[in-house]
Amino acid sequence: MAAQFLSQLKFKFARESSPDVFLESSIRGKQGWDKIWEKCLALISLFSVSIVFSIILFLVIEALPILSKVGFKELFFSDRWQPTSEVAGFGMLPLILGSIWVTVGALVLTVPLGIGCAIYLSEVAPIRMSLMLKPAIELLSAIPSVVYGFFGLVVVVPLAEKFFHLPVGQSIMVGSFILAIMALPTIISISEDALKSVPKSFREASLALGATRWHTISRVVVPAAFSGIATSVILGMGRAVGETMAVLMVTGNAAVIPHSFLEPVRTLTATIAAEMGETAQGGLHYQSLFLIGVLLLIITMILNGIASFIVQRVHQKNAV
């Protein structure tokens, strides 16, 4: 009763003293809520960002013990990866080399194809056509990697056996081919963006000087978009290094150092996928697989770092 009276009195008093006080206080209240909202959103985004750091943290924690138990030298320079044998060997060299072979093979195929397609879409094809082709390229990136792996297994592997007279068709070459297809959309879409962002005046100037269309593309547009194209190649490379399931299904999984593109191989990613299911949690083998994970993380972060460094430098150059 008393409280009600008091509030009524306040109401009356406030109304008489200043007619705008209500409006103002309601705004102030809303601004206060806005501040609280801002803090909440900041907290949420902090949480999202912290995922990256917790990935690093947890992988390193799980992998760290093996560094002290098995020497650094054996881990990275021994070629014996036999983690389940009596005298376990944890030499990651064959796996690292396997990843490098497959990735290099994929890049050799995918870079000319990807850049060529990007040039065609942005410079040559009529607008309507490139608008129709773009969803197809996007579809290429949406197809799950197991489906690519399955396609490789039932189509490309038998083809490789037939053409190269291999006893077993699962080899670096098939892995590279499948990875090349999978890295294409990354390279095409980023390169195309880079080519599209070259100012129209560059092309007009070149054509006005009497250069042909191809001359304009190869000497003016592509060099101007070079940094974007380089970024796309690096990100495509990151995609190829990190790809797991397709590679696991088509490369044959032999943890030995390869000598040609026709031999089977086992990559870093495939090793984790193939062996983690059979290992005891917390054992040396388990830790070694986490160490491979850390290695993959470092590789992709370096590649990402290079890509964003290039992008940043271009931005600075454009700003000047």
Partner: protein, 304 residues
């Protein structure tokens, strides 16, 4: 002397002519190669889809979609794998969608430029580049082992949520940043608060773009194998899961299993073709929906 000049003129004319025809031929060849490359890529995509359709379509039957696998995966259907994939994808999107969209709103509308924002971008960019198998290891270490969720839907869905988070954040950021600055200024000039402005002006405009990003990430989560390999899936699980803490079967993993490690590969091949076709159809459908949403938005924008 005059003759010499004349000859020289003739000679240079000829040279020029040759030079230009050479250039023309070079251009023709280059353009043919470029279009050849593009059509080769389309051919590979078409071959992949056609091949799976041709071999997979006759596997489709009521039994295939409603039965459990039987007789060492050589008979029966993929029903539990479809249900499992639904659970995992739904769980992942329920967690990552609000998280991703709210993070994007903060980054685009509230955060001030500075070292913290740079660090955030760096983190999100890196998260987008992390291989999916590494997400799987992370899920194993954090959700399965540390939180003791074991191999379960919960662990798998949370791992997938982390995986698609950067995709959602980036797509939402792009959609939000494309909303015209003058709309924001107009709303703020009317005396609204920032959050009210975001809710009533920015989000309705950016919504189709945000939705497209989310739809695409659904496809990503549904097709992902490596991330759920150690966190959620079972080789074979005889019943449908009844709680979040049970393992499930999932379509992509099921395809991997029956494609590589069946007892009788020839007998399981038809089922593998069918499963692959289901995955492809799922992806085609999701992409079609995303494309339609985007196209409708573009039409609406043009009308305005």
């Amino acid at each position: 002397m005059a003759l010499q000049v004349l000859l020289f003129k003739e000679f240079t004319k000829k040279m020029q002519f040759n030079f230009y025809t050479f250039k023309k031929v070079e251009e023709k060849i280059a353009l043919v190669i470029l279009s050849g490359i593009t059509f080769f890529i389309l051919f590979v995509l078409g071959a992949l889809i056609y091949f799976l359709f041709k071999n997979g379509i006759h596997v489709f039957s009521v039994e295939f979609f409603t039965q459990f696998p039987r007789a060492g995966m050589t008979e029966g259907g993929i029903f539990p794998a479809m249900v499992g994939t639904c659970y995992l994808t739904l769980g992942a999107i329920v967690v990552s969608m609000p998280l991703g969209i709210l993070t994007a709103i903060y980054l685009e509308e509230y955060a001030r430029p500075g070292w913290w924002l740079n660090l955030t971008y760096l983190a999100i960019n890196n998260l987008a580049g992390v291989p999916s198998i590494v997400f799987g290891l992370f899920g194993l270490a954090l959700f399965v082992k540390y939180f003791e969720f074991q191999t379960s839907i919960l662990s798998g869905a949370l791992t997938l949520a982390c995986l698609v988070l950067p995709i959602i954040i980036r797509a939402s950021q792009e959609a939000i940043s494309q909303v015209g600055q003058e709309l924001r200024h107009g709303a703020l000039a009317l005396g609204t608060t920032r959050w009210y402005m975001i809710r009533t002006v920015v989000l309705p405009q950016a919504w189709p773009g945000i939705l497209t990003g989310n739809i695409i990430s659904v496809g990503r989560a549904a097709g992902e194998t490596a991330a759920i390999l150690f966190t959620a899936v079972a080789y074979f699980y005889p019943k449908l899961p009844t709680s979040l803490l049970e393992p499930v079967m999932a379509l992509p993993y099921h395809l991997y299993v029956i494609a590589t490690s069946g007892l009788d590969l020839d007998k399981t091949r038809p089922l593998a073709y069918g499963t692959a076709l289901v995955l492809i159809l799922l992806v085609l459908m999701i992409n079609a929906v995303a494309t339609v949403v985007r196209a409708r938005h573009h039409l609406k924008m043009e009308k305005i």
